[in-house]
Amino acid sequence: MQEWLIGLETILQAQNLFLLFLGVFIGMTFASLPGLNNLTALILMLPFIYDMPTIPAMIFMCSIYGGGIHGGCILAILFKIPGEPQSVCTCFDGYPMAQQGKSAEAMGIAFTFSSLGGLFGVLVCIITAPLISRMAEAFGPAEYFAFVVFGLVVASSVGSSSMLKGLIGACAGLLLGTVGVSPGSGVMRFTGDIHILKMGIQYVPIIMGVFALSELLKMLLGSGPDLGSNLGTLPKWTVKLPSLSFIKSSFKTFLRSAASGTLVGFLPGAGATAASFVAYGLEVKYSKNPEKYGKGEPKGIVASETANNASYGGAMIPMLTMGIPGSSSTAVILSVLMLKGIQPSPAVFQNMPEMIYSVFAAMLLVNFVMFGQSIFFGRLYLNMLKLPKAAIYFIIVVFCTVGTFSIRSSIEDVWIMAFFGLLGYGMDKTGFPTASLVLGVILADLAEVSFIQTVDSAGSPSPLVFFASPISSALLIIAILLLINPLFKRLYRLKYKMAS
């Protein structure tokens, strides 16, 4: 209880409240612009947190993340343009409702259930994260290594059309993480006597290049939604909140979507987009009138918006307790903690309760703030669409350059960012998931240290040493099953083809 009071006291300080409001506003603004998303917002705000203390920085970033997931529904309903990939399912029923002249109702449903779904996910996070962290206290290096492998395999299987491509991306990330000083022995590796490589390749230039610069290239080459799209006259901004009877009748849909959203959010690499698709699919499956979906069924919006916001809390659980990010956005938030010299682990719950409970309090409050902001500032977000395309591209390039340069005052880092921008575009075009590469880079140190500690303490390089404990065995067996699953699917298809 005392931790909660400390967390509340921290969040209610004027500076932190301001950062929370600002973070939600920035997140929602980016989510309202086609082609940009909460990930872009998180990346572009990195230069501002370098000099901030850890707690305000975390409050700011978590608010951007929450606001960003929420804001994508506005464009999805009004223009059938998902401001965020996770709002694609909101388009299915939101846009038909808007065409039927019910945009105010659709908007009200989306805002209400986004906030309720977000609250559900955050409450699950608040309840389970301390329990998981207590369980994780008993984890040794073998369990941590198994968690990293499990996370990378799940991320590779969810985020890409081909699991092999995801795994290649993850391994390339792990290999990039070996450049620089070896943890433990202090030996310089793969530096080629280049000064900047002696300190290792920073993950911030990689994140900025792969996620922000490559997105600009994609938009310019027309393979993504472009900024400055001609949306015509902006509609009148009205929001009609759903009645209590509608909320009651949608309770089952809400519960199903919130639970599936939180669970999918927890899985590494899955994120809000997968959460909303899973929840929408479940809703269509369990509905008595599945034919109504896609034609303006309000419960379709309930399912999509509840699930993508519930994934916010789910994705934060593995990040806060074990330092394993559940999505690209949580990977950026993890990089903020690492920039501040904090490696999330169970010990953080013991040693830094103020930070943890301030983050929890901020995550709770974010849901109320974004509900209020979306109703009162909705018109403002729409007006952001009038910003010139050149201005938005300019802001992104300048913020990325400043963010990368400022880490260690090095222009080489800026060139590394540019290289990864081009690489990210190439990876995207060839279907290699960039998120796996970034997860690999971020988890490289944790993976290496836990691998070496396990092998060293067992005194054997045999892979069997990782199966010594039940937890690591279970995780590795699940990972292996996930790995061989596509092979069995292909064999089954081949057999079916031959039989027919």
């Binding site: 230069p47 501002f48 370098y50 000099d51 081909s162 092999l164 290649i168 391994c171 390339a172 792990l174 290999l175 070996t178 070896s182 433990g184 022995s185 202090g186 030996v187 590796r189 793969f190 610069l213 600009l216 290239l217 310019l220 080459l221 027309g222 393979s223 910003l387 010139p388 395309k389 050149a390 201005a391 591209y393 300019f394 802001i395 390039v397 300048v398 913020f399 350059t401 400043v402 340069f405 400022s406 005052s409 222009i411 800026v414 060139w415 540019a418 190439g426 075009k429 060839t430 279907g431 290699f432 993976a447 290496e448 691998f451 070496i452 092998v455 060293d456 005194g459 054997s460 390089p461």
Partner: protein, 175 residues
């Protein structure tokens, strides 16, 4: 076009993994967590982990190349693959060149001057209509001024100030 690039990427990764594997064999035998212990049957060294990753990466790339070959036999290729318009390609090349020039000029001419010029070039590259360009130029000038003030004056970030006369100009302008 990108389908062949995938194979090239896989081959490039295999070559990189092979080179890194060979380089890691020459790392000094400094053992992790202390000096060599003769009583232990095995001790990891600085090159152990990179070698493991190199082997796994090379195997995955080979598997992917085989997988792609099988895909080519079984799946139909999509001949109507969306190709970018020539105008989009020209605009992207101009944008990439502008970003490259901005990064290259950042240290010699300093952040404030490079940023102002970059903003104006962005207008020329991305906004074609006369009215759009004028509006963009006005908005970008305001944003440039805001960005320079926020990063240099408020956050005191250690950004490049330029060399020689540009340094003096930057000092006079903002620092």
């Amino acid at each position: 076009m990108f389908k062949n690039i995938e194979n090239v990427l896989c081959l490039g990764l295999i070559a990189t993994a092979l080179i890194m594997f060979l380089v890691s064999l020459n790392f000094p035998a400094v053992y992790i967590w202390g000096v060599p212990d003769p009583n232990r049957p095995y001790q990891a060294e600085a090159g152990t982990w990179p070698r493991v990753i190199c082997v796994v990466l090379a195997i995955l790339c080979v598997l992917r190349m085989i997988d792609k070959k099988l895909e080519n036999y079984t799946a139909k290729t999509d001949k109507n693959e969306e190709r970018p318009h020539a105008a989009n390609i020209r605009q992207t090349l101009a944008f990439t060149a502008a970003v490259g020039a901005y990064m290259a000029l950042l240290v010699p001419i300093g952040f404030p001057i490079a940023t102002m010029f970059f903003g104006l070039i962005m207008v020329l590259v991305l906004d074609k209509s006369a009215f759009g360009a004028a509006k963009s130029a006005a908005v970008i000038s305001l944003i440039s001024a805001g960005v320079i003030v926020v990063f240099c004056k408020i956050l005191y970030l250690p950004l490049p100030r330029g060399l020689g006369v540009f340094r003096e100009f930057s000092q006079w302008l903002i620092f």
